[in-house]
């Protein structure tokens, strides 16, 4: 696998991560409460900055920690097929889960999360007053969605691990940058003066499309990796591939 293909796969996985909505929902809620309490624009900016920085930090930490743990398993330049097979299974499973029940039925953008986690994040977003709390909320919001982001994270780590160190760094930066892009866009819209209701209405109107796209992308990525990393290697070893 060339570096370009490897980084392209990382980009696709990061785009899938970016389509997940828990951090965006929490950011929207926090911004609404901050404006509702009549806090200044500077305070809103600092909260948005703290939250985005927190989410970015947690994503980087998760990616690097998973990389460190898997580096003990992947000792050579080749990731074991069994690990790829497990990752592909995870991609298919999460893809199906996203298709079937990422959003709860009914109005709004309620996510399929344990209600205690959702209520905790909603309550914390109401009580967030300073940058430190916003940073912690950003950390928690990424961690809360671990069930869904685990698959794209795992695949990205498996792709990045065998690369040269400088390309590994590019892969990490690409993943973190792209996966945070949706959050950054919403933060910029809020700080630029857009109404929360407009953002929330757009999210609600397009939730089915986002859900279908994320689920389909997980399937496409899983299928591609299964063919290239699980099926092709034994065929090549048996002299059946060119």
């Amino acid at each position: 696998m060339t570096d370009i293909i490897a980084l392209s796969i990382v980009c696709l996985a990061a785009l899938i991560h970016a389509s997940f909505q828990l951090s965006i929902s929490t950011l929207t809620l926090m911004s609404g409460h901050s404006l509702g309490h009549g806090r200044s624009h500077m305070r809103l900016l600092s909260l948005l900055g703290g939250f985005t920085l927190g989410a970015t930090t947690m994503t980087t930490l998760l990616l690097c920690t998973l990389g460190l743990l898997l580096s003990y398993l992947v000792t050579s330049q080749q990731v074991p097929s069994v690990l790829w097979a497990a990752s592909c299974g995870m991609l298919f499973g999460v893809g199906l889960a996203v298709w079937l029940f990422y959003y709860r039925k009914g109005k709004g953008t309620m996510l399929w999360l344990p209600r205690q986690t959702a209520e905790f994040l909603a309550e914390r977003s109401k009580k967030t007053k300073n940058t430190g709390e916003a940073f912690a909320l950003g950390l928690a919001s990424v961690f809360g969605e671990l069930l869904f982001i685990a698959a794209p994270l795992l695949v990205s780590v498996l792709i990045i691990l065998p690369l040269a160190p400088s390309v590994q760094l590019s892969g990490i930066l690409l993943y973190v940058g792209i996966s945070m892009s949706s959050l950054l866009i919403v933060a910029m819209l809020v700080s630029g003066g857009h109404k929360i209701s407009e953002i929330q209405r757009w999210r609600e109107a397009n939730k089915t499309f986002l859900q279908f796209t994320a689920g389909s992308a997980l399937f496409v990525l899983g299928f591609y990796l299964y063919v290239n990393e699980v099926l092709t290697i034994p065929l090549a070893a048996g002299g059946l591939a060119s």
Partner: protein
């Protein structure tokens, strides 16, 4: 009209006990919804006053209502003055 009315509000979840209707509490939540839509403070206060008055008129013949009823009626009146704020007021619990 800033005091509490002798009307019991049954909480929607059913987990908490009933409480008396508080105009201030309703006013605060409607004003917050307007402010979150970037209304000016005076405009938000005016809108909240109008909505609270309309809700109190609706409440006069009802000794017991649920918090969901209050939210629905307040939201209906708020839509006339500020549709964006009404959307936020009604939907903020369905965001996450």
């Amino acid at each position: 009209m800033t005091g509490d009315k002798a009307i019991d509000i049954v909480k929607s979840s059913g987990k908490r006990s009933t409480e008396s209707f508080s105009r201030d509490k309703l006013h605060h939540s409607i004003k917050a919804a307007c402010l979150s839509e970037r209304s000016h403070d005076g405009e938000a206060t005016n809108t909240a006053d109008k909505v609270c008055d309309a809700v109190i008129i609706w409440l006069e013949q009802r000794p017991v209502v649920t918090s969901h009823d209050i939210r629905r009626v307040a939201s209906k009146h708020l839509t006339r003055y500020h549709p964006g704020a009404a959307y936020i007021y009604e939907h903020h619990r369905y965001t996450i």
